[in-house]
Amino acid sequence: MSVISVKNLKKYYQVYQKEPGFWGSIQALFLRKYYNIKAVDGISFEIPEGELVGFIGPNGAGKTTTLKVLSGLLYPTSGEVRVLGLKPFERQKQFQANISLIMGQKNQLWWDLPAWDSFILNKEIYEIDEGIFKKNVAKLSEMLGVEDILKIPVRKLSLGQRMKCELIVALLHSPKVLFLDEPTIGLDVVAQKNMRDFIKEYNEEFRATVILTSHYMGDVKELCKRVIIINEGEILYDGSLVSIVNKFAPYKVIKVDFEKEVDVEKLKEFGEIEKYSGNFVEVRIKKGEVFATATKLLSEFDVVDLNIEDPAIEDIVRDIFNAAK
C-alpha cells in the first residue's frame, strides 16, 4: 500500500499586482487587480513505504506548495490527497504524530536557548515516553555528531550545527513520513555532504518515507533513486533517475583528445559541438549514429583518446526546464 497517494491535486491562489510608483499606489488603494496563480495544476503520484523521492524543479515550480499540502498546511483546491491513509488537512493527532516537516530556511528552535530546551518542549508536545526520548536523542545526536553542542545557546552555533539540531528536533518523535524542503540550502559543501549522508542513513535505518525538494542536483543525485520533475505546477517526469537519460536524452556525448589542433569547422559535420579547445572537443551525437561517427573520427584525425558517455543529469534537467519555458 502507498504511504502517500496524490490524485489530480490542484492548488490555485490569488495574488494582486500593483503598478510601480506613487500613482500606482493610489490606484491600488481603490482597485486591486487580482489574478489566479496555478501553483500546482493537476499532479498525481504514489509513494510506497520507505522510498526516498526527490522533487526537482526551478523556483516557483510548485515543489514547496505540494509539500505543504502533503503536510497539512494547505488545503487543496481540488484533488485527493492521502498520507498514511489520512487526509492531511484534517490535521488529526494521529497524522501529526507521524509526520515531520523540515524547512531549510525556517527554524523552530528557541534562538536564545540551548537546543536541549527545545527538545524537552517537543517531548511534551509529542508525548514521547521518557525512555524513548533519551534513546532517540542519543541515537540522532550520535549519527549527526553533535552530542557536545546540545547545551549551547542556538544563536552561538554555526548554520550547519543549527540545521543538525533542527533535524533532531524534527525527528524526535520518530516520524514515519518526512518532508524536507531545501534541507541543504545555504550550507557549505562539507555540511551538505553530512546532511545527505544522514538523510540516507535515517531513511534506511528507520524505513521512513522521505520526500525531498532541492534545487541542488547533487542532493537528488546522491540520495534519490526516484525523482519527480515539476515545472509550472505540472509533472514533467516521474521515474528512476537512471531512465531520465533514456527518456530525455536521445543522444550520447563523445569526448575526443587530438594529437594536434583541429580546425573547428571540420568538426561541425559530426554533430552539435558542446565544448571545443583546439585539441579537445565534446560533441553530441544521436544514439543510432554513435558507432559510425566514432569510426569516422578515428579514421580522419590523429586521436589520442576517445570516450563515449551519457550526458550529465544536470545538463538534461536544465534542458528539460529550458524546453518547457
Binding site: K18, G21, F22, S25, I26, L29
Partner: protein
C-alpha cells in the same frame, strides 16, 4: 535634493500600501484623545474652574495636545532599529545618502500625512461634540507657538535618533522607547497639563526635555503664559537642542565605528 524627494514619495507610498495599518494607527490616537477629552469634560459638568482652567481652555489644551502628537510624536526614525538589527544599515555606508537627512525626510513625510488626518478628525470631533474652544488669532501668540512646535519636533527627532542608535550595542532598544513614550504621556503633558502638579515637581519636570514636546507648545497656544515663563522655556529648548544634536552626532560616529569593528 532630488533623491530626498524620492525618499519622501516612497514614504507616502508605504503609508498607502499599509493603509489598514495607518487607519488603525489614527484610530488609536482618536481613542487616546477621547479618553482624555471626556475625563476633563466630565469634570467640568459640575464645576466651572479647576486648577485655574476653564472648560474652554482645558478642552482647547486637549485638542492642541493631540495636534502636538500628530506633529511632534509621529515618527519613522525608530525604523532604524530594525534596519540596524537586520544589517541593512550598511546601505548608508555604501550609498551617497545622508543618514540624518534620510530619516528627517521620512519623518517630515510621515508628519505631513498625520497632520492631514488630524485636521479631518478634529474638525469632525468639533462638529459632533461642539466643545467651547479658543481659536487663537493673535500673531504674538501664534508665532512663538510655531517656533516652540518646531523646537519640540527637533528635540523628539534627536531623542528618538539617539535611542534608536543604541540598537548598535544592545539587542532590545524597545525598552527605552517604551519608557520614553510613558514619560511623554504622563509627564510631558499628554494626559493633563503638568502645571496641575505640585510646584516643586513641576519645576523639575520643566528642566527635562519632555514637557517641550506637548505641554509647552499647547500651553503657549492658550496665550496665558507669562513672559518670564516663555523666555525660560525657549532657553531650555535651545540648550536641549544644542546638547542633543551634539550627542546625536557623536553617537552616530560611535555606532558606525562599532558596527564596522564588530561587523554583525
Amino acid at each position: 535634493m532630488k533623491k530626498y524627494w524620492e525618499v519622501f514619495k516612497i514614504t507616502w507610498q508605504q503609508l498607502l500600501i499599509y493603509r489598514v495599518n495607518f487607519a488603525l494607527w489614527r484610530l488609536r490616537t482618536i481613542l487616546q484623545l477621547l479618553l482624555v477629552y471626556f475625563i476633563w469634560w466630565s469634570v467640568f459638568q459640575s464645576q466651572d474652574k479647576v486648577f485655574g482652567y476653564t472648560t474652554a481652555s482645558i478642552l482647547t489644551y486637549v485638542l492642541v495636545a493631540a495636534l502636538m502628537r500628530a506633529v511632534v510624536l509621529s515618527t519613522r526614525v525608530t525604523d532604524m532599529i530594525d534596519s540596524i538589527n537586520s544589517g541593512n544599515i550598511v546601505n548608508f555606508l555604501i550609498k551617497p545618502l545622508g543618514f540624518i537627512r534620510y530619516y528627517l525626510t521620512r519623518d517630515i513625510a510621515d508628519k505631513l500625512f498625520n497632520i492631514g488626518f488630524y485636521i479631518a478628525e478634529v474638525s469632525l470631533l468639533i462638529l459632533l461634540l461642539k466643545p467651547p474652544i479658543i481659536i487663537q488669532t493673535k500673531l504674538p501668540v501664534l508665532i512663538p507657538f510655531f517656533i516652540a512646535t518646531l523646537g519640540g519636533l527637533v528635540i523628539y527627532f534627536c531623542i528618538n535618533f539617539i535611542v534608536s542608535l543604541t540598537a548598535f550595542w544592545v539587542e532590545n532598544s524597545w525598552g527605552p522607547l517604551f519608557l520614553m513614550s510613558v514619560f511623554l504621556e504622563s509627564l510631558g503633558g499628554g494626559l493633563f497639563p503638568i502645571d496641575i502638579l505640585p510646584k516643586p515637581l513641576f519645576d523639575i519636570l520643566m528642566l527635562t526635555p519632555f514637557p517641550y514636546l506637548i505641554y509647552f507648545p499647547a500651553k503657549l497656544y492658550l496665550g496665558s503664559m507669562s513672559y518670564s515663563e516663555i523666555i525660560s522655556g525657549f532657553s531650555i529648548i535651545f540648550i536641549w537642542i544644542t546638547v542633543l544634536v551634539a550627542l546625536m552626532r557623536v553617537s552616530i560616529n560611535a555606532g558606525f565605528r562599532h558596527f564596522s569593528a564588530v561587523g554583525n
